[in-house]
């Protein structure tokens, strides 16, 4: 099975966020870029399928600027991906999810693919649009919020679950299709040191991203803001638990207006 997994370099969760000097986007200086939890789940899913279907290959693809994009591709190779392709964004420093999908689609279309995996959403902008846009661009069905995707050789179909707002759905789908993975359901593996060292020398194929079409709609970032720091909780004084409960209910009802 030919599995393609798309990943995106995003700031490490521990990074202190701050706006770039012009204030329109995140300041990428001094930020450590990593695979997001969603993408880790997607890579893990790709590797689990590879291990269960003999003769499978995993090709990891990412769109973005140097050097961060190459770094996360190497991280994915260290986890066990067989091949890597970097869709070089060149001087383009910011891209909305639809632009990213439009840059990825022609490259993915040119690779053998029985399955295209990505995280359900990016760990930074949380757009959650790439899988659907890739599906539309490549004329394939797409499924978001997927957990536990398996290949059933008997029926030659994928079987998987989706976590939707009202509960859980079971699906079957023929290859090829596009799937966005839920995070933290498959306990993604971590790379071993020898694999990390080896990934530093791995070949990363580089292709320049197709330029934006002048006529296509554009998304322009105008402002990136941090919320004002929370000033700390208003503490409730009480003598008995019952008094604490009464005060809190009164506050939720009359002051915060969130009591059901």
């Amino acid at each position: 099975m030919e599995i393609v997994v798309c990943v995106k370099p995003v700031p490490d969760a521990e990074t202190r966020l701050r706006p770039a000097p012009e204030g329109t986007t995140l300041d990428p200086e001094a930020v450590k870029f990593v695979l997001s939890g969603y993408d880790e789940s997607a890579v893990e899913q790709a590797l689990l399928l590879k291990e269960s279907v003999p003769g499978s290959k995993v090709h990891v693809v990412a769109f973005g600027p140097a050097p961060r994009t190459e770094e996360v591709l190497r991280a994915a190779v260290a986890l066990g991906c067989d091949q890597a392709t970097w869709v070089d964004a060149g001087a383009e420093r910011w891209a909305d999810p639809i632009r990213a999908a439009r840059a990825l689609a022609p490259v993915l279309g040119g690779l053998p693919h029985d399955l295209i995996l990505c995280g359900k959403q990016a760990g930074d902008d949380e757009g959650g649009l790439v899988a659907a846009a890739l599906g539309e661009l490549l004329s394939l069905p797409d499924f978001g919020a997927v957990v536990d995707l398996r290949w059933d050789p008997g029926s030659s179909r994928f079987r998987f679950q989706r976590a939707v707002e009202t509960g859980q759905e079971s699906w079957t789908a023929p290859a090829p299709c596009v799937v966005g993975l839920q995070q933290a359901w498959n306990d993604p593996r971590t790379a071993k040191l020898p694999a990390i060292l080896k990934s530093r020398k791995a070949t990363i194929a580089r292709v320049a991203a197709a330029p934006r079409s002048a006529s296509s709609p554009t998304v322009v970032p105008e402002r990136f803001e941090l919320p004002p720091p929370r000033t700390g909780a208003k503490m409730i004084d009480y003598r008995t638990p019952e008094e604490a409960a009464q005060k809190l209910v009164r506050i939720l009802r009359e002051e915060a207006k969130v009591f059901p």
Binding site: G128, E136, V164, S170, W171, A245
Partner: protein
């Protein structure tokens, strides 16, 4: 020229879901805008008329139950048809799994600028300006969606439900969906609705009560569940709880679990590791109950009670029941 806004109706139990109603409210709040609805799937014909209850006089319906077990892709042609015939320049959908999929596909099929998770938006000449939380609510970005068309998914609960304003709604039916034979396409084979009594889905709930390590033992978690039941809330947990196996990982709120943004979030016995905070910081009102006055959760909470949760929580559950007449 006044803009036309196409609102995608999502069905839940045969009726327009609350997220779709929130989208109607947003569309109606734009002065001069014409609002048109579109519903697809089984029972759409009847559900489309519900748009009229909320002041929408025109709706499109593709009433085809086969769509309910087909991928979202099968609905795109109908949406595009409704958008083109109505002359819409903005499409609004609820920020559900379903809504985001349609927004992503329509961005390509209808050549529209797209955004999801939107909490504020204004219609401007030449586009739509949107604001949306990013990085799990640790930052917000403002984007300008340029061009003649925009397709937008709203963040659940970020907008109020619209007041009822009944008008007759004229429903136009869209021709049958073109679906490939079942063996060549994906099929939904089952649906497990979250069991009644376990509360609403965690990411969709307007109130969430979460328990952490301070609960001390799995059997004590019922204190959290009883408070949630009294409030009609969903139950969440910190990573300490799911790692210990007290509750399944589907309960986990945080960086590696679910991100939630309810109207009210109550953290019980949760210290407030950054891992957890990023999953709930965009909640509108946060209440923390913890025995340690120096716990970091009190720095992000709006209201705090320092005390023994084994005394506070049962008292709170009783008080909530009394206040709600339960």
């Amino acid at each position: 020229m006044t803009p036309t806004v196409l609102v995608v109706g999502e069905l839940q139990g045969g009726h327009l879901a609350s997220g779709s109603l929130e989208a109607i409210g947003v569309a109606r709040s734009w002065s001069g805008a014409t609002v048109v609805g579109v519903v697809t799937g089984g029972g759409s014909r009847a559900a489309a008329e519900e748009f009229g209850r909320f002041g929408v006089a025109e709706a499109y319906a593709l009433d085809d139950p086969r769509l309910d077990s087909a991928p979202a892709a099968a609905r795109v042609a109908a949406l595009k048809h409704a958008a083109e015939v109505s002359g819409a320049s903005v499409l609004l959908a609820a920020g559900t799994t379903f809504g985001r999929e349609l927004v992503g596909r329509m961005a390509v099929a209808w050549e529209a600028a797209a955004a999801t998770g939107v909490t504020e938006l204004t219609m401007e000449p030449g586009g739509v300006r949107v604001r949306r939380p990013v990085f799990g609510g640790r930052a917000t970005e403002t984007l300008r969606l340029e061009g003649p068309r925009a397709t937008i998914a709203l963040r659940p609960h970020a907008f109020a439900l619209p007041a009822e304003a009944p008008v007759p709604c004229s429903v136009r039916e869209i021709g049958p969906a073109e679906l490939p034979p079942a063996e060549r396409t994906a099929q939904r084979t089952g649906v497990t609705v979250a069991p009644a009594g376990s509360g609403p889905g965690l990411t969709d709930a307007s109130i969430v009560v979460s328990g952490g390590r301070g609960v001390r033992a799995p059997e004590n978690f019922r204190l959290v569940e009883e408070l949630a039941a009294a409030l009609g809330a969903a139950v969440g947990a910190s990573r300490a709880v799911t790692d210990a196996g007290w509750r399944p990982t589907s309960f986990q709120v945080g960086q590696t679990g679910r991100a939630v943004s309810p109207q009210l979030y109550i953290a019980v016995g949760i210290s407030g590791a950054i891992q957890h905070i990023v999953g709930m910081i965009s909640s509108r009102v946060i209440v923390a109950i913890n025995s340690d006055a120096s716990a970091p959760i009190f720095r992000v909470a709006d209201y705090g009670i320092v005390g023994d949760l084994f005394q506070i929580v049962p008292a709170l559950t009783a008080e909530v029941r009394r206040a709600r007449g339960l």
